[in-house]
Subunit: 448 residues, 2 copies
Amino acid sequence: MSKGKVVIIGGGAAGIPIASNIRSKDKDREICIISKDTYCSYSPCAIPFVLEGVIKSFDDMVMHTPEYYKEERNIDIRLNTVVTSIDTDNKKVHIGSEEVEYGDLAIATGGICFTPPIEGRSLKGVYRIMHISDGMAVKEAMDAGAKEVVVIGAGAIGMESTVAFAEAGLKTTLVEALPCLLPLILDSDMSEIVTKKLVDMGVNVITGKSATSINGTDKVESVTVGDKNIPADFVIMCVGVRPNSKLAVEAGIEVGARGGIMTDTTLHVKKGRGYLQDVYSAGDCTEVVCGITHRPTGSPLGTTAVRQSKIVARNICGEKVTFPPVLSPNICCVDDLHCGQVGVTTHAARMGGIEPVIGKSRAFTRARYYPGGKVIDIKLLFGGEKLIGAQVVSKEGVKERIDSLSFAIKLGMTLDELIEAETCYAPPASMVVDPVTIAAENAKKNMA
Amino acid sequence: MSKGKVVIIGGGAAGIPIASNIRSKDKDREICIISKDTYCSYSPCAIPFVLEGVIKSFDDMVMHTPEYYKEERNIDIRLNTVVTSIDTDNKKVHIGSEEVEYGDLAIATGGICFTPPIEGRSLKGVYRIMHISDGMAVKEAMDAGAKEVVVIGAGAIGMESTVAFAEAGLKTTLVEALPCLLPLILDSDMSEIVTKKLVDMGVNVITGKSATSINGTDKVESVTVGDKNIPADFVIMCVGVRPNSKLAVEAGIEVGARGGIMTDTTLHVKKGRGYLQDVYSAGDCTEVVCGITHRPTGSPLGTTAVRQSKIVARNICGEKVTFPPVLSPNICCVDDLHCGQVGVTTHAARMGGIEPVIGKSRAFTRARYYPGGKVIDIKLLFGGEKLIGAQVVSKEGVKERIDSLSFAIKLGMTLDELIEAETCYAPPASMVVDPVTIAAENAKKNMA
């Protein structure tokens, strides 16, 4: 009994693993990925590191080609191909006048860079960083003798790109409208550490002010921020990622207040009063539920996309598995300074009606007397007795500590349990009492 | 209402924090630490790294002097002082003919290096590594023109000392009677990675054979292992740590089958039919309960000592808090290769009646295309659905992953929960799917 072709719109961190996961369970089912991108199977998060020169070329980022997927996994990938509409009644997608029938459809259209409506945003020399082609254009601008750049937006891509420009010797200005850098993942006290890092690298950091216009005749010449005019040979706009849900909306599929495609727990999309049993959504285009506030939110992370893709693939293959609320652990690498976060920030907690109790520590990643240890800053947030958020900034040991705190939040760890939890020690690897434990003990004092 | 002096026998990782923790809660109580050691307030785990030259001197290891404790914390510390007996009926300890009365007593006498009864073990040139004085003697032997050394016992200190000797250019032989290196923390498949490391460093590694005699006239000349005679200018014996409970035993305090001082959950010691409400035990001398098998065991780790010391201090100060069963996360640093473990190994699981389901992964610590990433090997053990043990070997990201798995075991995480758990990603810090997740997915296959 054939269930028809699986059509996946999008070849990114959700689309590709949906196809691969289906194939690993069903060796015969016809699978077709349609992507408007020129490449597939890459992580856009790597683009700033190519700009920085740490990763040698954009080709290195690409894990596999369409030919690989065809030959090794019998998956069809059509690149440079735009799906123009979805017809859920007749189970077809349209590529212009061409019709492609599906048995199951997965919408994995990803995100789009939000562009605030400021004057001059369409000038030549204004770039976004979302696809490899964007990265190549920026690299070309860097190599064409640019001397000055303005980056608008201090999220992960903005921060990491700023580092790339500063290290390339460009006079770099970073503009963030909110009061601190990495405002969605760091509280202002933790953010200060990162600000200092960029300032020390020679970056002109401007926070709490918006870029009000981009100026130039046919090409960017400067950016106006407050009463200042900052010269720029090119501009990077990375103000935020929004769900790319236009195609879904046009097909009558419901989206939430933030524009993300609404789904049930099994990731079927909503249309009218019900959920379509043969249409799924995964990745940046999808609305998710916050594991702390239980409100709809976004989670534009490759990790979330990959986890959703497994759920979609299993359900397409006949299982009935659910995608749980998210904690969205994430990490941004600002040169050698890693900034990680999981759960809610203080602002997000308050928006969810929770006044968090805070615990902080500043300690070391190795025994104090062991050479090479790095300063590590930790901030923990508790809602009542439960851990609800964490921020960690250091030059090492950030990613895994965030993961450990992600496990802790997921499993409902209390403050007392965290204080009591066992951690390991050797002088080259840690202090006897882990900085996380020290931060938890600090929270205990603040809770009393 | 005075409760009398707190006397603490031992100035190591249990004794010192007991004193400090009491002082932070009670600024007046008289506290006296009595230690036979020449130094206090140091981590013996650091000794191999001084031998290796990474830590410049033994002085660097010592956090504080007795003078510091007296002046800053009003804690008396008597070094080079041997408690000869404990009289629990009259609440006194004896230092030869001197009597010291106590209100509360904490036994924190630590461990002793087990020395198997092999011929020649008392020859000059046979060292143990437990105290700074031991480390100094070994350093002297190294500096006195030694060319060849035999290390007997491949636990953490044996492994780390072996690295120190090999890096100093000594012809180094490591002898382990059990079938693999680090046998208490690594299964043989994981241990092979470490064996390769030492062999690549030029170490002569002998496993599955015992040293049967140490040979020489007044001074070590060689060690006999099987039918071979291995020349040695000096020998390190680190066959294992046993609880130093002799003083307690002589005072009528009960010890378990492994020689560890038995306590109730509040760390009061047992004498006769009851637990003495004014005598506590903490650190390597103390018997603990394994959090997986629920059997009595040892946990000769600085981290365990510190955690117990907090419980003892709080109970001495009038609280009633308990010390839970242990998972004993630990890490051994073999040159740049970190070997971490938590919970039970396969052998320990089987000894506890559990046949574990295994999940393994070999992956990278960063995105495959990001330079500088290290190979990481992970082995997870499940008992039924629950995670019960983990082993991780890599050049980075070991300590924190072991901690995360320690949290996971403590909170009763199941295999499905671990597969579903969220981890963070950035190309310089990790793969999109964490190696822990990959190992868990492997276990899922093995469980089916």
